[in-house]
Amino acid sequence: MLLLSFFRIIGHSMEPQFKTGDRVLAGYIPYLISQPKIGDIIVFKDRNTERVFVKRIKKIKENRYFVEGDNRKDSLDSGKFGWIEKKEIMGKVISKF
């Protein structure tokens, strides 16, 4: 969980929304006042690799979240990550700049 942080995007799975080198601002503040919802783009730490990933929430079930990249041809999804829990979500992408 982080209040506010900048992230540099590496990879293609969120194209065309985000490309490699793009910078985004993300934070947990929105989720202090509302729950994550389908369509939100989130950053989260993969429990297996400890790497931070950026993906979009596609399904929600019993407080767990199925995430997937927009560029489905070139993206891993929760089939790889497993359904992630809210505590794994570091924040919501607020804007790109």
Binding site: F6, I10, V24
Partner: protein
């Protein structure tokens, strides 16, 4: 003159978020290796430029900064090796070697240089590492029939990044 946005950029932490995988999924990009090589240069510069303040806490602050810069230098030199190894081992095929017979030597050189930048605080080795990684990036994009262009990195290290056109 600094804007409020510049101020925000300065105080808010910055991290990397991967929109990436290594199944292998066919998604390879030497960009991160280049960024990491730039980081090695930056950390080397910071260490070389660091002066010990003659204050009560000067020694501690000096050691603290040295420790932090060295840690990041170590991590990013290793990241260069990791990223280049993945592309070299998973992406490149034997047929590429017909067009780029020195590829193995180049990768070997990158591995050695990255290790040297970890072992030493040597600006020349760090610069050589970036040049070699850029050469590797150019070869990579050529195998994908993509022309490359060198653009200004806009990092404190100056220098360039190789990108596909």
């Amino acid at each position: 003159m600094k804007t409020a946005f510049d101020f925000l950029l300065g105080i808010v932490p910055r991290q990397i978020a991967y929109a990436h995988c290594d199944i292998p999924c066919g998604i390879y990009d030497p960009h991160l290796a280049q960024v990491s090589a730039h980081t090695v240069i930056r950390m080397t510069d910071l260490i070389l430029d660091l002066k010990k303040e003659e204050t009560e806490t000067g020694d501690k602050e000096f050691m603290h900064k040295i420790a932090r810069y060295t840690k990041v230098k170590e991590e990013h030199a290793e990241m260069v090796k990791h990223e280049v190894r993945i592309i070299w081992g998973d992406y490149f095929k034997e047929e590429h070697l017909k067009d780029y017979p020195d590829l193995h030597n180049l990768v070997f050189k990158i591995m050695k240089l990255a290790s040297k930048t970890r072992q030493e605080v040597d600006k020349q080795s760090a610069s050589d590492l970036l040049s070699s990684v850029q050469e590797f990036a150019q070869i990579f994009w050529k195998t994908k029939n993509r022309e490359t262009v060198k653009v200004s990195s806009s990092y404190p290290t100056g220098g360039e990044i190789v990108l596909p056109k």
